[in-house]
Symmetry: C2
Subunit: 324 residues, 2 copies
């Protein structure tokens, strides 16, 4: 069943708008260029799935479902950390475009991008320490460590067709799901929730994040340049093997030769794309994403029934809806 | 009176050696290139003034002068944060050499340098949270914020002869002294010291750090290429005005014209260097460094007498000794 976006979004729409305004103030910088970079970064009022999860996890666990200032701050910190990670990723990957917009390194310079990312990480560390929970500090610090591990796992196995599914899922956890898992758990910690509820929200974020990443990886093959803001198959072209390619490799061993060769010959890349589309790679990836989304919904059962719990559940449908 | 290095160093020599070995284990990374970068970074067993201050501040405040594991970990974290800051600074300033050695961005790539810096910041955040003191987390997180502010203050006023002394001292505090001030105070916090002792160690680190920076800035003019690992006057050439230039500007207004022009004409930079050497800029800078070093020693008087307190005091002589 296809569920409309409104279901989960309505409950936190006002909170998210408030957060966006507040983010601009929180990262207010003295340097005019850094101020400009921050405004550039927080200008796009997208869906903001990450802080939405934190706010919903907060409402689902807080006493009487009431958000506290600390819950709101945690949502802001989560968005800051996510943004800082993107900015440095784009420097590391020398990317020029993200969602059809110039990246910070392209719009400004590498120098400004390194500085802006560091500044956001530093600000988020300071605000984190002021939340008054060492456990929450450690949860979010672990996310930063995982960002690095994920980037490493990705870069060390470029153009390597022996990459295992386990390594791919690990990489997806480190780069995407860890932030969702640890920040959702942190929301429950701030609510003084029992341990099983804290762990359930961690598992929710983990499975939802992995589903989210697999969907992204499918869209990289099936989306149009206009929607993706980059050409289809970009990940593969850069040697990053994702679920559709890994499944296709099981059916078409000749794909391994093309990948290992780095698509050096004219037409190699196009042949690889054809093999993937001719395989069951996309449909099996979709099934895998669905399985993780289902697991995300299941673990929510330890939480008491509430509109926020329902919204978290609907959100997992929304993640899959992006495929249709 | 010139004091030999041994006086302050002897007391923590074994601790520092142990720390250096331990740092390699703490930042052990899965990625072979990142492992290589970490080994490259921690290979040089220099004087390690920063962790030495933390260890001495710990001994000067701890019960019976005994270092705890938390004190040792704080010293390691301080060195990690310092190193991460250097690595990103070199990316931002596109520097190729540091102390006569290739920088990480030059020896490896910008990509590895951004990643290695992020990884060290992340590791230090995780270890910080495990120290179990929110106050210590906030003190060190503030250092990260100050690194950014310092880099900003520096870059926004390049080639600007209207830079004030206050701005120069602020920049020196943010870039250099904040780490010494906040980590020395954190050592006292971990010792459960009374507030006045914590604040005294903050002030000690602040004044020592500013003295240290001024001495560095003098050496940039008076040192040889062999000692500096870069040509003399490098800071000035890049438009960074430091104490000797700021004092010289008061005597020689024509220096302002050369700076503002960015040394565009042949011989401009050499003329500027001559004006600075002909002025009282260097000697007045030396006096300023001495004044800050004296203040650092004075604030130590609230601490009980101990070999560690004496070593901290001797360290301020050592900072000045680098000038002779």
């Amino acid at each position: 069943m296809t569920v409309s976006t409104g279901n989960w979004f309505g409950l936190v729409e006002t909170d998210l708008e408030q957060m966006t305004d507040n983010l601009q103030n929180l990262v207010a910088a003295k340097h005019p260029v850094l101020k400009e970079a921050a405004e550039y970064l927080f200008r796009v009022k997208g869906k903001r799935v990450r802080p939405a999860i934190v706010l919903l996890a907060s409402r689902a666990t807080a006493s009487k479902g009431m958000l506290t200032d600390r819950h709101r701050r945690l949502a802001e910190i989560t968005e800051m950390i996510h943004t800082a990670g993107l900015v440095h990723d784009d420097v590391i990957d020398t990317s020029d475009l993200r969602r059809g917009m110039d990246t910070v390194n392209a719009h400004f310079t590498n120098k400004i991008a390194v500085l802006a990312g560091d500044f956001l990480f530093a600000k988020s560390s300071v605000y984190l320490s002021r939340l008054g929970s060492l456990e929450v500090v450690e949860l979010l610090a672990t996310v930063l460590e995982h960002f690095g591990e994920g980037e490493i796992l990705q870069s060390v196995r470029q153009f390597d067709p022996t990459l295992t599914f386990e390594e791919y899922i690990d990489k997806s956890f480190y780069k995407t799901a860890s932030l969702l898992a640890n920040s959702a758990k942190a929301a429950a910690v701030l609510s003084d929730s029992p341990r099983d509820v804290c762990e359930a929200l961690y598992d929710y974020g983990k499975h939802l994040g992995i589903a989210f990443q697999i969907v992204d990886d499918i869209l990289d093959f099936t989306g149009s340049t206009a929607v993706l803001g980059k050409p289809a198959g970009s990940d593969l072209q850069e040697g990053h093997l994702t679920a559709p390619a890994l499944f296709a490799l099981e059916e078409h061993p000749q794909l391994a030769v093309l990948i290992e060769g780095g698509f050096a010959n004219n037409g190699d890349f196009e042949s690889a794309l054809k093999l993937i589309h001719a395989s069951r790679g996309i449909s099996r990836s979709r099934e895998l994403a669905q399985a993780h989304a289902r697991q995300a919904v299941q673990v929510l059962e330890v939480l008491p029934q509430s509109p926020a719990r329902q919204a978290l559940s609907d959100l997992s449908d929304y993640v899959l809806d992006r495929l249709y």
